[in-house]
Amino acid sequence: MSENKIIACKTHEVAPGQQKIVQLDRFSVGVFNVDGEFHALLNVCPHKGAALCEGPVCGTTAATDGRDFTYCKDKALVRCAWHGWEFDIKSGEFLVDPSIKAKTFAVSVEGEDVVVHL
């Protein structure tokens, strides 16, 4: 884990299902709260460089062998602000092709601080 740890924000500033975009060093980073767990993504979409983390935090349909529409990953997915590519907030994986990943950073909570490990 990187030693370059920076306080991104206070825990109460990002409610579950929301995100906050902060500038850390030279990086724009999105801090997300997924069910009380904090995650951080580089605010750059690996597709076209858009501000990934400004997109909606939402869910999507689960893969199926049938014709059912099952909502999944509720508030655990960010849809890129420009072209709508779906990224799993925890892993950074693009749902259509998991070999394409948004850059993630490790996060720790220290007291009331959300700390991002750059």
């Binding site: 597709h47 999507t60 349909t61 689960a62 893969a63 199926t64 062998d65 049938g66 014709r67 059912d68 529409f69 099952t70 072209h83 709508g84 590519w85 779906e86 693009f94 749902l95 259509v96 092709d97």
Partner: protein
């Protein structure tokens, strides 16, 4: 190995179908209103009429026997064709009729006529089970009725249709195709009547103008077959698109892939990119192959659709825009695949027929 996947067998009059019709529909056919003179095939004709007629001017059969004799001399023997898949002609237009029972009776009669009067003439000829897709249950019955015949190698519908072919409405057809191990093919035609206007912005004026832009409905069918998950439901199914052009294919696939990446949530049954389903399940036929001034432009597009593996040779004999096998403008190192090997893979029954012929 040379396989022509689009070889039209004509008839001198649609009355050749009469011996194969049930009494009720025979009566309908003989005494009912026709779109042309006596002997015309009943269909709701498209509004664009070829000003010279469809066929090559050097092919003028005057009898039923002539139809085959001329095909043999000027096409099969002349080019050394190993197998030709018969695609009929007017029978496809049954899809334009509002009455699905009459349409089903007509294609049933055509299919029997083809089996009885064409296939025995030459062991190079193999057939298509023509269906009237406006009633998918009746179409599925017809596929199962003839599906065991080893010389029937595909199911064939017109590309003019009342809705895009991936629609679950049509899925009984693919269920039957899968059960019989047959590809589902669509061939240019079937415009008019109950079918959607194939020209998106409204009716065009001239025949050549219309013919050039008929790929529009093929685009719709390709997108629909992929998006509706037909190839997830029937993982062995091949979809063959005949005479709808090819140079547009990469462009549509690029768009489908790009849009799917943004909106996969609409179709959670898909597991792969649209272009990947295309490569495994959809095949296009060459004729009429686009002819740019700079052939390299065409070849770049063919390469983008993996043309070496996704294209099959078609002559469209004996139509006005027939392609000469010897001047097919494809990269020379692709010829063996496109002329025969790809078709051998798609039409599984040809493999068995060919093995039997070699053993004999």
């Amino acid at each position: 190995m040379i396989i022509d996947v689009d070889c039209h067998n004509y008839w001198s009059s649609a009355e050749v179908l009469l011996p194969y019709m049930d009494p009720f529909f025979k009566d309908y056919f003989i005494r009912g209103e026709q779109p042309g003179p006596r002997g015309a095939f009943p269909h709701a004709h498209r509004p664009w009429l070829h000003p010279e007629g469809f066929k090559r001017a050097d092919i003028n059969p005057v009898s039923e026997d002539d139809n085959y004799a001329i095909m043999k001399a000027k096409h099969l023997d002349h080019y050394g064709i190993d197998y030709a898949i018969l695609t009929g002609d007017e029978a496809l237009e049954a899809s334009t009729l509002a009455n699905p029972y009459y349409a089903a009776a007509l294609v049933r009669a055509y299919n029997d006529y083809q089996v009885e009067e064409w296939l025995p003439r030459d062991d190079r000829l193999v057939g298509s089970i023509v269906i009237a897709p406006q009633d998918p249950q009746l179409a599925a019955q017809e596929i199962r009725r003839l599906g065991q015949n080893p010389r029937m190698v595909q199911v064939l519908a017109s590309h003019g249709a009342s809705r895009p072919y991936g629609d679950p409405f049509y899925h009984p057809i693919y269920e039957a195709c899968a059960e019989m191990g047959l590809p589902f093919a669509i061939h240019l035609g079937g415009q008019g009547g109950i079918n959607s206007n194939p020209i998106g912005a409204g009716p065009t004026t001239f025949f050549w103008e219309t013919h050039a832009i008929l790929p529009q409905s093929a685009m719709t069918h390709v997108a629909s077959m992929i998006a509706q998950g037909v190839f997830e439901k029937w993982p062995q199914l091949y979809f063959v698109v005949i005479e709808c052009g090819v140079a547009w294919v990469p462009s549509v696939l690029w768009r489908l892939d790009a849009n799917y990446k943004a909106l996969r949530k609409e179709t959670p049954w898909l597991k792969r990119l649209p272009s990947e389903y295309f490569k495994d399940h959809i095949r296009f036929t060459t004729q009429p192959l686009e002819r740019p001034d700079n052939l390299q432009h065409l070849w770049s597009l063919l390469e983008a659709m993996d043309g070496k593996n996704t294209l099959m040779y078609a002559s469209d004999y004996p139509h006005w825009d027939y392609d000469d096998l010897n001047s097919l403008h494809i990269p020379p190192e692709w010829r063996q695949n496109i002329l025969g090997d790809n078709a051998m893979q798609v039409f599984k029954r040809l493999q068995a027929l060919d093995a039997a012929k070699k053993a004999a």
